[in-house]
Point group: C2
Chain length 330, copies 2
């Protein structure tokens, strides 16, 4: 069978593709293991280093409904819908966010429905669907009240995935991800970009700015655990999910201050000193509106797991992404 990964040229998309190649199979529409013949990465930019002949790239606009209809035929057993306009950018450009985060999501679901074989669709949602007057630990039964356009758009995507699944058009799963960090590469326009930057840049000997208050809590998951979660979320039988396809994945709760303290423990005081505290009110407001922790009992009962602590997250980043010199220190 074929697997489609939207946003496939992104960091998580590429990493997922390589993991799936190594794995070799996924459960198909019928819930039975099927060999992966092809992985299609759909993105607006080409992916770097397609290391395997089974990985194919389609460069195009995710909001182009006809492209989606062509890409999603009956051979596509599984779709990982990762493409999104990130939080900071969706806040700055409302129409772009609606076009990609809502319209393209809906076009994708319609293409899956038209294919007629109920493909599995794994949709990544976010802490940003919550907001405003949250309890210290958010429960599965807590109301959403997004305080950003990104969160609003993701919440709409969640509702659609649930209803398309209930109607039998797709077999959908929504994984609400904590902030994913530490990511390799460059800063992006996510309000949460700092959560990678304040570790990644100092480890590279560069300065980094933390735009949020030291006491602001962040709910974090490493890329490793996120990829594990995406695959486990795909493999779960539909009946395990009950009346809601949404699972809040486990994370670790740390303040920005604690993140820098962990950086100091793992990489030394010099690294920690490269973090400059310079509050950006827009970013701080968005990040502070997200839950610092949520109840993970449902996820754990389904087999998901998070990281042990932020120190482990930094060490995993060093192992996965940095030179052997750093790996030695970790």
């Amino acid at each position: 069978m074929k697997v489609l990964i939207t946003g496939g040229a992104g960091f998580l998309g590429r990493r997922l593709a390589h993991k799936l190649v190594a794995r070799g199979s996924l459960k198909g529409t019928d819930g039975r293991d099927q060999a992966i013949d092809e992985i299609v990465l759909l993105d607006v930019v080409p992916a770097e280093s397609l290391a395997d002949a089974r990985i194919r790239m389609i460069v195009g606009d995710i909001a182009d409904a006809s492209l989606l209809r062509r890409a999603i035929d009956r051979g596509v057993g599984s779709v990982f819908h990762l493409a999104a306009i990130v939080s900071g950018e969706a806040e700055a450009d409302f129409d772009l966010g609606m076009r990609v985060n809502v319209d393209a999501c809906r076009s994708l679901l319609e293409a899956c429905r038209a294919a007629g074989h109920q493909p599995r669709v794994v949709f990544t949602s976010s802490v940003a669907v919550y907001g405003s007057d949250l309890p210290a630990t958010v429960l599965d039964s807590s109301a959403l009240n997004p305080q950003s356009s990104y969160g609003t758009q993701k919440a709409i995507g969640e509702l659609l995935i649930n209803d398309y699944s209930r109607k039998g058009f797709i077999d959908g799963r929504v994984l609400r991800l904590p902030t994913i960090g530490v990511r390799p590469g460059k800063p992006n326009r996510a309000a949460s970009s700092f959560a990678s930057g304040i570790v990644r840049e100092p480890l590279n000997g560069e300065q980094s700015t933390c735009p949020i208050a030291p006491e602001t809590r962040v709910w974090l998951l490493s890329p490793r655990k996120a990829i594990e979660g995406l695959i486990l979320g795909h493999e779960l039988p539909a009946q395990a999910l009950g009346s809601s396809r949404i699972v809040n994945l486990p994370g670790v709760c740390v303040t920005a201050y604690e993140m820098v303290a962990a950086l100091e423990r793992v990489a030394g005081a010099e690294a920690a000193k490269r973090v400059r505290w310079e509050r950006d009110e827009v970013t701080n407001r968005i990040v502070a509106s997200w839950p610092g922790a949520w109840d993970t009992r449902r996820a754990e009962a389904l087999g998901f797991s998070g990281d042990a602590d932020f120190d482990s997250i930094i060490r995993a980043y060093i192992e996965d992404e940095l030179s052997s010199a750093f790996a030695g220190r970790a």
Copy 2:
């Protein structure tokens, strides 16, 4: 100023129009009382009995974005967006529900945004946004988990109204209505249609079928109180609403059994005997997924009120809609 009422030919739309004519003014974009010069009813069918020269009808498709752009100019201070495909029909025709309940809602919000003066928009939502494993009394902090396409579509509308308001594109208000009954007229394709039918038809000497289990709880509001609520919801200052534009309006919680018992008390045993109990599983599943009651403290603090009990709702219906013969009995 002008007031636009979508779904204006419907029962609530017409009643609201007449109430606004009698009232003569509403708060405008600036929050100050403004005389109502014109009330525009937009609907796919013409409204009966336009009793006042200030009421004008536009017959057209609410999903026609260009029609909405023409209808919503800078003279429109207020929009009451009541047009919707009802629950039973949206469940039977998914695409029609999406087109009217989601796409037309968004086109309307875009037309308001394009007008540029932040018109007040009152959007009616529903008990149907909730569903599955609800507490006995739903709180404002309870998660939505709609178990119907109608509920999903209304929940998407709510998210849009909140975000368009947060962004300053509109000054929106979402009133989550209990099931509105007793409505005059004929049964419609709402799953809740029975809640009017099992009173209205027996009062007219006709048989009526109750498709839900006698013990199923329903959360009800009379048309009188609903119209009061729409106007009060419009008049509230934005700052009274805080970070969520959504208000759950008060209702009365009764079982189907208790509704018929109230009918017997108000209109006699003969009337009550005209109700036939004949379960329809699809309808019962939808109605039973809705909350039987929700916490109304926020609404009450804002000045909203519900009906005293279901007996009063029946009496109000008799007063408002039926001949003096019935009014005498009540």
